[in-house]
Amino acid sequence: MATDDEAPAAETPAKPETPAKPETPAKPEPEAAPAKPEPEATRKPVTAQVGEPLLKPLAPAKPVPVVTFEKVTKSFGNFTAIKDVSFTIEDHPGRGEFVAILGPSGCGKSTVIRLIAGLTPQFPASGGKVLVDGKHITGPGPDRGMVFQDYTSFDNRSVLDNIAFGLECRGMAKDERNELARKWISKVGLSVDRDADKYPHQLSGGMRQRVAIARTLILEPRIILMDEPFGALDPPTRSRMQEAMIKLWRELSPTIFLITHSIEEAVYLADTIIIFSSSPGTVLEVMHLEPPYKPALEAQRDPQFLDTVFGIRETIEKLESSTRAGD
């Protein structure tokens, strides 16, 4: 199956298969270091796409799903966080999928995301299979970027150094990574002149979350995991961030998983919504929606939009009253 990936390699501008510099983002490399489907090789194509939107048409006969959950169960002692969770998120080359996870509090939404990220103690699962690109996860990695709810800016680093952190860990030269980081500062709507040298404590919550998003996206991860990233923001900032997210998503086309408590946010942003029920958490429904094309505020006034939101709200409320979960 991995050999299918070789097809697009031929279409990229003539460039000999140099194995070197996967960390150089300026030059897109042939798609897959395809000859070896070893675990190390799986991370290379992700970094190789860095820099420009992925234009290459990738049409393998039978694409490997980006994320597959097969009867995944996670228990902590007597407590079962999620039970028999199964879903598949297909690969849409050149587009990426925006997946929102909705559900009552304590239904194991975070468990799902942290299992994909490979973060302990949720990882590894107690039962079932979690596959990313058809392979088992061995731990956290930069191909699966994560944005947490609490802004985890490194307090000791300036905005620029925060954003360049991942590149620094890859060993990219200072000038090169700073230049890229500056590009990303403006991409997430901050000012290079005013904000680059600021420290996180000088920023507002929304700005800090922009830094966290830039720091994750600069690595051009294949999968972006967001655990209520806008939960702590005020409504205007929140809708600005949603629009920024949509824009970046279109540009980079990663697969995004977003946990949210806001049904509007889920319906606006996502083209797939996974609704969870609680105790123990399991998938109740998977919905497919139209991807968003209008600005946040406009789209959210659309009658059809409101219908969808209302439908989901009813479903979740029914769930919450029947399980008496929630807080």
Binding site: A117, P140, G141, R144, M146, T152, D155, F165, C169, L219
Partner: protein
Amino acid sequence: MTQPAAQQKPPPWWRTLRADPPAHLRIAIGAAMVGVIVFVWWFLTRGEATEAIISPGRLPAPGGVFASTGKLVENDLETHIWATMKRILTGVSIAAVVGVTMGVLASSYRVIAAAMTPIVVFFRSIPMGALFPLVLLFAAGNAERQKTVFVVLAVIPFIFSDTFASISSVPQRYIETAQTLGASRQQIIRKVLFPIALPDIITGLRFQFGLALGYIMLVETNELQQGGLGALLWTTQRSYAVDSMERVYMLLFVITALAFALDHLIRFFQRGFFPYRSDL
């Protein structure tokens, strides 16, 4: 109960628990307290030696104490200060390099912590004075080294524990963030855990300077010819100078001022280096 809020005033600070008086008043109260102490001191020591309530052999009059500063300076006060400072700086520095390194490693790799625990518990629990004879024996023949080694031994377990605690209290979320950004374990230690904990580690070191100064006073009473403030204190008290007691009291002020200055110097640098830590 139904009174409009505008007419209500908060109770004044002197009728409110934990309410601070205004800043200028706080300083004035502090200054007044110093004045009271000096006055009581003057009152207890006034008049001729035979009339004073406390004899000048025990507590000399304040005027004489401050006047003895000149004599102290003439008698190489500066040299003694530097001798003491050099010992605690060397001792704490050596202890910091070893203690901080071990603390960082032990907090990150808990197998090291398990191995270090009994040693640290022993050295934290033993009264350092009890080790003094042994240090004298082991570093015999090199009085300077004795003193430094003693400082190192005295502070190293505390530096280790403080560093361990500082690193351990960095929230797990930072580690997770770094992991999802592709940092290796060593990179997490070097680029995340250590720099984020560093301001707290240095606060720990600051306290150790205070402790070291305390111990060095004790150790310097051995091999008096090596000098240092502890030696100077000891020799001054036993000297036959007319104002020996005055000088002893003055020395106490000098030592206190030194400890205070050292503490604030480190804090000054801390604030400069870590502007993002408003709590320092």
